[in-house]
Subunit: 425 residues, 2 copies
């Protein structure tokens, strides 16, 4: 049986995925290159030897809740509740860390934040007229998830200080005027991937007003909020959300570890059925979740549960050491750029207040061909910003990530990048 | 923010999911009822105390493969390969247990077989003209996954001896004549859920011929194949598949434990891109998988990996005790039906050769109202067969499951069912 690639669904050949595959392939071909491309977390914080302890901590918690041994075994090993069993701990964590007050029933535990995006998109977009707005440049997992489901994404250009709420309003109105329904807006308000940009406090409040005016829901993706150089740039949108307009997408990949593949969705919107009965959106969306993965591994949930319990359900406390490491990494990256490009006014970069990413504007096309040369001849990898743009933006810009590297590697990577750009001047 | 249920995607109100929710709700309201409804595995085989040992076994395996401590930590805790890291062990297991020879690259590890269905459906159905054929009555997870993706399912009625290949051919031709493309056929050839029915060996071979004639792929779902009263009724379709027509959906929920949420997809079809380069379908579908869940928890994979290694990569060996338990359960169920309904010619049931399910035809409507009475007044739960039918079939039939219960509970459940049906005669 031979199949033609062109005969498979368009998401199989997703352009962003193809780009990421190219990036992975280049990384595999030049294993000695310093990767300023990888946005994965640093590996020095956890060991497989910790896993039994996290399990024990969580099992002891279940015992305190009154579960006997058979019930504890069932809790971990049997099929579980579709929306997972960490709702209580996550709700407590959100209250403690973010001042977000939601009932446990508003929390759905997911197989990473990626599944949370798929669940939210699928549940909210009911028909072909339903579209989502998304910050541009955008995390490719979001645009890819929309493509998988056949949902149109309308880009809203990001400025140097994040999304402009008035522009969001204008785009939403234009979409509605065209006969389509703008259902939700996706953004990363803190230290965005890929841009590193954060939304100022005033813009956050205005964005929520605009969402109400345009009848938009907001999908707030928050993987990096705890990794600010000097705290969060503003409260999370969910903390400011008095109108239940915000669905909050959480990830434990950077705060705990990616190997658990546990994220979550907070959806406390009220849903009314034909008979007037009310439930929370997270409860309704459990059907969608059940059709994707039934439920997320309760064992993986228990690992994250143990991790949360060890810090008294405060991620902010749990990630203190990690946040210090990432702050140091970002400062190192910014200092290295300053050091290497002080005499190059044609090379400019932004100065994010936290997170994993910096965008560098360069005077040459930062395309796949240059990336290949960079990996092969200069031993440094980065990500073309064009991968994240919906149109032809980002041609002469690249994303640098500092999350996976030690400071000395970051400095070496930037020196190599400087050599590449010197030779291409 | 108030949302109307009718304004969310149709999969949120999926009728089968609504039925299953009703079932769960009835079960929660009558906790003392004997549940002949639950198809989950028996809980006596595993304990949370086994988990660290499975991890250790898998970590020792990684060490034998030459991974140092840091690499082993990375393997479990970091983001992993999209298609997972059990391909080698699963390929070895399929060769040993089923005589299926596929390269490890043809295996995608998934977050349960449910995700494997979503991945296969999404990848194969490219446009609105692409439809899938499915056995009717059908596992609701499959029809629900198709609904989630907006893919039409065309039912093919099951007979007492499984799907009739000639009828599959006729339906596929009718679909094609109507201008649509029949892309694949879904079935459970061994001890199907819900019907318990198996496909005879000759029909298996003919079904593969028919698939070639109609240019159909086959989605073979095999959660129960190892739980036959007397072995497998025939080789798996994948073992008979000389033309790479079969995508094989595997689950570890019943053979290992559901809490790992690990399943897999075997897709060894060759895919040719525009430039003529060839890859395997599982590799191409990794894009789809990455957009759903990025990758399945490598820790959960390691648990299943440890479980597989302990049996020398033979599930058949690993499940010996479980298979004996389920055989005894099914024989107990069939004997109890015989005992309770010997004098009721208006109550008939089939006699599956294995698996978890028996279908009972009854002289009354086996609907939600009767189920409620059954749970409340008779203390026994079962599943209306109508939940699994696409049309109005199965009205006077119910599915009994024996997988989660001890033999004495099965007997008590059937006695209670007999009292219900005696009172309704």
């Amino acid at each position: 049986m031979e199949l033609a690639l062109a005969d498979l669904h368009v998401s199989v050949s997703d352009p962003a995925s193809a780009s990421m595959n190219f990036l992975n392939e280049v990384a595999a071909r030049f294993p000695d290159a310093v990767s300023l491309a990888a946005g994965r977390p640093y590996e020095g914080f956890h060991s497989a030897a910790d896993l039994p302890r996290y399990l024990d901590t969580y099992l002891a918690h279940l015992e305190r809740l009154g579960l006997d041994a058979a019930q504890r075994d069932r809790h971990l090993l049997q099929y579980g509740r579709t929306n997972g069993h960490l709702g209580e701990l996550i709700a407590r964590m959100l209250a403690k860390d973010e001042g977000v007050e939601v009932p446990p029933e508003a929390v759905m535990v997911t197989s990473g934040a990626q599944e949370a995006m798929v669940v939210a998109l699928r549940g909210l977009c009911a028909g072909p007229e339903d579209v989502v707005l998304a910050v541009d440049p955008c995390y490719v997992g979001f645009t890819g998830a929309a493509r998988l489901l056949g949902i149109e994404v309308v880009p809203v250009p990001e400025t140097a200080s994040g999304l402009d709420p008035e522009q969001v309003l204008a785009v939403a109105r234009a979409v509605r005027a065209s006969g389509r329904r703008p259902r939700a807006l996706y953004l990363v308000p803190d230290f965005a991937n890929p841009s590193g940009v954060s939304l100022p406090p005033a813009a956050r409040r205005r964005l929520l007003e605009v969402a109400a005016e345009a009848d938009l829901l907001v999908l707030e993706d928050d993987p990096y909020g705890l990794f600010g150089l000097d705290g969060r740039p503003g409260s999370s949108l969910k903390a400011l959300d008095t109108d239940r307009r915000v669905l909050y997408l959480g990830s434990f990949a950077k705060t705990c570890f990616p190997g658990a593949r546990i994220g979550f969705l907070v959806a406390d919107q009220r849903v009314t059925d034909r008979r007037g009965a009310r439930t929370l959106l997270a409860e309704q969306l459990s059907t969608v979740k059940s059709l994707l993965t039934v439920n997320s591994s309760p064992i993986a949930q228990a690992l994250v549960g143990g991790f949360l319990l060890e810090s008294g359900c405060s991620l902010r406390t749990a990630v203190k050491q990690k946040a210090a490491f990432y702050r140091h990494g970002l400062r190192t990256l910014l200092a290295a750029l300053q050091h290497s490009f002080a005499d190059r006014p044609d090379v400019r970069w932004n100065a994010p207040d936290g997170g994993f990413f910096v965008v560098v504007e360069v005077p040459v096309d930062a395309d796949e061909a240059l990336l290949e040369v960079s990996g092969r001849d200069y031993g440094v990898l980065w990500t073309p910003m064009s991968f994240f743009h919906s149109g032809d933006g980002g041609r002469r810009a690249l994303r640098l990530s500092c999350s996976a590297l030690e400071p000395a590697q970051i400095e070496e990577g930037v020196r190599r990048l400087a050599r590449l750009l010197a030779d291409r001047a």
